[in-house]
């Protein structure tokens, strides 16, 4: 009895906790019985060779994978202590709670302001006043350190921004709906080194307020920009530890081989 309570307390600390999560694309199995507990408020990175299932795992966390009708999922995923596959769960609420940033910056082809307000408008029932909208836009852009750069051209098309600014905007537009988890699927792979650095700094700033789960191909990035690291291979989790430790003393041969660049 005491043990269960202890367990529940532990679960509350976890932003994401999965049990026996398996996923199939048609007949191809991409994830095998994934059991992961991702702590709240820190940055966790996921590394592994292409096709190891890290993006698939990420995309399962806000159920965006289900856009494809040939995806089949079994197992349990709790986000902030709630099973996101429970029948009474509204998929739109899951996606509000768990924001996602994509590999290629994908601002909507509307103004910067409307991009920021998009999520807010679809999730708020009534009309929002002009001044409140202004505050929302300013606060979101301030948080991603973009406000000073774009405050004079909020009505310009978001697609005209530089890639780095677009990616920051894509992060900023998630913030007004107050998500608890931010998923990032190789958010820097379309950016140059300067842009990468800027986005990494931003992630570090956002940490604590949000739980961040970032998929990356760049091991140096995983090392410098995350607190815990997950190594995946062939749809299975091989190792999940504190980042520094994992890179210094990997427990598994596969992990060691991968981070030393022997494959992948």
């Amino acid at each position: 009895m005491l043990a269960t309570k202890q367990q529940q307390a532990d679960n509350k600390m976890m932003a994401i906790s999965t049990t026996d999560l398996s996923l199939w694309y048609g007949t191809f199995q991409a994830l095998f019985d994934i059991k992961l507990d991702i702590k709240q408020g820190i940055i966790t990175s996921m590394i592994g060779p292409s096709g190891c299932g890290k993006s698939t795992f990420l995309r399962t966390m806000n159920r965006i994978n289900e856009r494809l009708d040939y995806v089949r999922i079994s197992g349990k995923v709790d986000v902030m202590g709630q099973n996101i596959f429970a029948p009474e769960v509204e998929i739109l609420q899951v996606r509000k709670q768990v924001g996602m940033v994509f590999q290629r910056p994908n601002p909507l082809p509307i103004s910067i302001r409307d991009n920021i307000l998009f999520g807010h408008n679809i999730h708020s029932a009534g009309k929002t006043g002009k001044s409140e909208e202004g505050e929302i836009v300013e606060s979101a852009l301030q948080q991603v350190l973009l406000w000073d750069k774009v405050k004079d051209r909020l009505d310009h098309k978001a697609t005209a921004l530089s890639l780095e600014e677009q990616q920051k905007l894509c992060i900023a537009r998630l913030l007004p709906v107050k998500p608890s988890v931010l998923l990032m699927d190789e958010p820097c792979s379309a950016l140059d080194p300067k842009g990468t650095e800027a986005v990494e700094e931003l992630l570090w700033d956002l940490r604590g307020k949000y739980t961040i789960l970032i998929v990356t191909h760049n091991m140096a990035q995983a090392r410098r920009a995350s607190e815990e690291c997950i190594f995946m291979l062939m749809g299975k989790v091989i190792e999940h530890r504190e980042t520094g430790e994992m890179f210094l003393t990997p427990q598994h041969q596969e992990t060691a081989d991968y981070i030393e660049g022997r494959y992948g």
Binding site: R95, I122, V177
Partner: protein
């Protein structure tokens, strides 16, 4: 030894200049393809020159700008004083096309949205084929439907004396224009990158919000292009309109009035006129007007659609 090597290299150099069969075939194909490519331009210029030449005598002679465009008296066969006013014909064409668009736009946009955003697999293929099949129905068949099916139906339902009127032709023309508009509109929706939809859905937007707030605004130029092509189709359609409008020169006061279209007038009268007579030339002047109008509409549609591809 040296001389021999020199001789060899000279022979090799000479080979570069050799024009063999492949070279000639290549050149011939190039010329053919080029001719094919510019033939459309040649034809369109040729047609324009021809109708202008035939209509010119009228434009330079009896033509009065005010009478032609602002008089509703089209009496080309009058014994004492023939008048050539096409206002009523313009009104006829415009009212039928306008009503047709009112009918075709919601239908075609609805179908396009369904095909592009909702239907999957078999349903989608089946729908696309059906829409294309609809576009292949000859216009005289549509005219026949207007004449034989819609006419008595309209008389029955609305209790009006004549069923060949703006309503009849508008419905027929709307159904005729809808397939091509659907195809173009669907292309425009498909051209919206999927990452926009994904982005919006990942933020928790519903299917309808994605369509209404993201896809339609992003595709709006292509959709406008689709509508303009439909309008062009409406202006140019002849046979179905000739059969379904009632062919009465009249500025319509309601959808139950019979009208006559510009195109139908040419089709019906050209065979009866003496070549080179003022009547004949006036009909060609109508042709010039139609040509210019449809050219402008198509040009706008094309520019609008091209703008989409760039963006």
């Amino acid at each position: 030894m040296t001389t021999k090597r020199n001789a060899e290299s000279v022979a090799a150099a000479a080979d570069f200049d050799k024009l063999n069969r492949d070279w000639y075939i290549d050149k011939a194909v190039q010329v053919l393809v080029f001719l094919g490519g510019i033939s459309a331009i040649i034809f369109i210029i040729g047609i324009f020159v021809f109708i202008t030449k035939e209509g010119m005598g009228f434009i330079l002679g009896d033509f009065s700008f005010t009478e032609f465009f602002f008089s509703q008296n089209w009496r080309p066969t009058s014994e004492n004083k023939a008048t050539y006013g096409i206002l009523a014909l313009i009104a006829g064409t415009a009212s039928v096309t306008g009503l047709a668009m009112l009918i075709a736009i919601p239908f075609s946009l609805g179908t396009a949205i369904f095909i592009a955003e909702f239907a999957t697999g078999r349903t989608r293929e089946f729908l696309k084929i059906t829409v294309e099949l609809l576009a292949a129905i000859p216009s005289v068949v549509w005219g026949f439907i207007g004449l034989a099916l819609m006419n008595p139906l309209i008389i029955d339902i609305f209790d009006v004396p004549v069923g060949l009127n703006v309503l009849n032709a508008g419905i027929i023309l709307g159904l005729m224009a809808a397939p091509i508009m659907t195809s173009i509109a669907e292309d425009a929706l498909k051209a919206v990158p999927d990452r926009y939809r994904e982005a919006a859905e990942a933020m928790g937007a519903t299917r309808w919000q994605v369509i209404y707030k993201v896809v339609l605004p992003a595709a709006k130029n292509g959709l406008l292009g689709a509508v303009l092509l439909g309008v062009g189709r409406g202006f140019g359609e002849t046979m179905a309109v000739l059969m379904a409008t009632g062919h009465a020169i009249n500025i319509p006061g309601s959808v139950f009035d019979s009208v006559r279209a510009l195109t139908a007038t040419i089709a019906a009268e050209l065979g009866e006129t003496a070549v080179g007579s003022p009547h004949y030339q006036a009909l060609f002047t109508i042709g010039i007007s139609l040509f210019v109008i449809t050219f402008i509409i198509n040009l706008i549609a094309d520019l609008v659609i091209r703008d989409v591809r760039k963006g």
